[in-house]
Symmetry: C2
């Protein structure tokens, strides 16, 4: 199914293309956010902004103005009941050939609006063969170097699976290709630590903050393939789907268990805007 | 010093920009080659073509026609005595949002011509703090996911150093940020294995083929920081500079030793076109 962006803003101006010298193309030198915009409200907006700001700081690029971004998201989605906005931020045009940064680069903003896609129900999940390289300097960032995800995603293209679970080169469970992952083991919630690789999702962060506020801390742990055998519940998160229960894990049926369902109900209040969360 | 491309061809047509939906921008889903074009001759052309073809095969994208690429390089550099051509090949426009590949993507070719830059003489080299993640699925490829190089390059921006040597997360010496590295230890030539990370440079490949043809095999080995202390000579290679002797290694002066100088003389015959190498 071909899904093309319905509208694109580049540095605030309607445009379809950007210079071939952009460092986002040349090196993947940038970051992105995928944002659900529902009834004119950019969901989890403070979380998106915070992750983007942290990513800009870690890559050493000037962060876009928050108010400018908000205005551009609003302009791009005006009149749409539901939309997906992909925001790409790059270090802008290369000032010379080569990896070096002059310091005079001007951050470029690319906003693409896509039609809303209804999240699927229970997910069938397999284990990826590809392993993620480990680099603390990039861990957690939603940066533009995503070839590992492209290759892992290809592993289940055309299959009955919805997602592949990725392990790091040292054997730690990290995430799906486009989701974070949570497990229930011995009645306790655990999600992989993301200090060596992986993307720290905004939905993951919001869910953890919500659980913490409710007195149910979610452990960030080191999980291996063996830990999957003893898991009682599993679910995936991302900014668009919220909590998606895993109903099949590498051939084994899993229930959408009680803890998953309880979190889904609580999270829906946050996602509907009925409940405010501290994002500090 | 700002150095802008003097001319750009996109899919064979003079153009300055490309669609914001290009997967090269979105995910770094593509490859590149940096080619020295001297007196109308694209130096090491068969080596560039072979690496590009192997990269396309490994990423599962359709390789551009070799004859079409050659014609475009020639058109882009017509009348130029010396030029640098950066060839970027991407998986083309995303057919939908997300990492998935539909199989109907059309490979995009972006060729940028830059002015020739005279290679520097002896290089002053330091050790990078950043470590490279290890992923055999991407090792050796000159792909567009180059944030590690961008960050490592920033470590010596504005310093007296010309290059930073990178180690992998498991402590193996791999390369410079934009160069491959060769060492002489106990009179023998060694270069790092690139089966877990790093870019397999065309100059590295040509040099190894030349040495092999001359009866001096270059070992691909596992080298650590400790091995640098006992190294007698060191040099860097890339497609533009050929062999560049390292004259300072992390504060220690090194001679441009006899083996380095002999290889420089032999390689100059290959690079001048006076000697043909098998690239099989």
């Amino acid at each position: 199914v071909s899904v093309q962006p319905q509208s694109v803003l580049i540095d605030g101006v309607p445009a379809a293309s950007l210079p071939a010298t952009d460092r986002g193309l040349q090196y993947g030198d940038g970051l992105f956010e995928t944002i659900a915009v529902l009834a004119g409200r950019a969901r989890l907006w403070p979380w998106h902004l915070r992750r983007l700001g942290e990513g800009c700081a870690r890559l050493g690029l000037a962060a876009p103005e928050a108010s400018q971004l908000a205005a551009e998201v609003a302009a791009l989605t005006a009149g749409e009941a539901r939309a997906v906005v992909k925001l790409i931020v790059t270090r802008g045009d290369a000032r010379a050939r080569g990896y070096g940064v002059s310091g005079s680069e001007r951050t470029r903003r690319v906003l693409l609006r896509y039609p809303w896609a209804q999240p699927g129900a229970g997910a069938r999940v397999r284990l990826a063969r590809l392993r993620l390289g480990e680099n603390p300097a990039l861990a957690g960032l939603k940066h533009l170097n995503r070839l590992e995800q492209v290759l892992a995603r290809r592993e289940h293209t055309g299959s009955e699976y919805d997602e592949s679970l990725l392990f790091s080169s040292s054997g730690a469970l990290i995430s799906g290709t486009m989701t974070n992952v949570f497990l229930v083991r011995a009645g306790r919630l655990v999600t992989p630590r993301l200090d060596r690789c992986g993307v720290a999702g905004v939905m993951r962060a919001a869910l953890m903050a919500m659980a913490h506020a409710d007195g149910t801390d979610i452990e960030q742990g080191l999980l291996t393939e063996a830990d999957l055998e003893s898991c009682e519940e599993m679910f995936l998160t991302n900014a668009l789907t919220g909590i998606r229960p895993v109903t099949e894990l590498a051939g084994r049926a899993l229930p959408a268990g009680p803890l998953t369902q309880r979190l889904q109900r609580s999270l829906s209040e946050v996602l509907d805007g009925r409940r405010e969360l501290q994002h500090g």
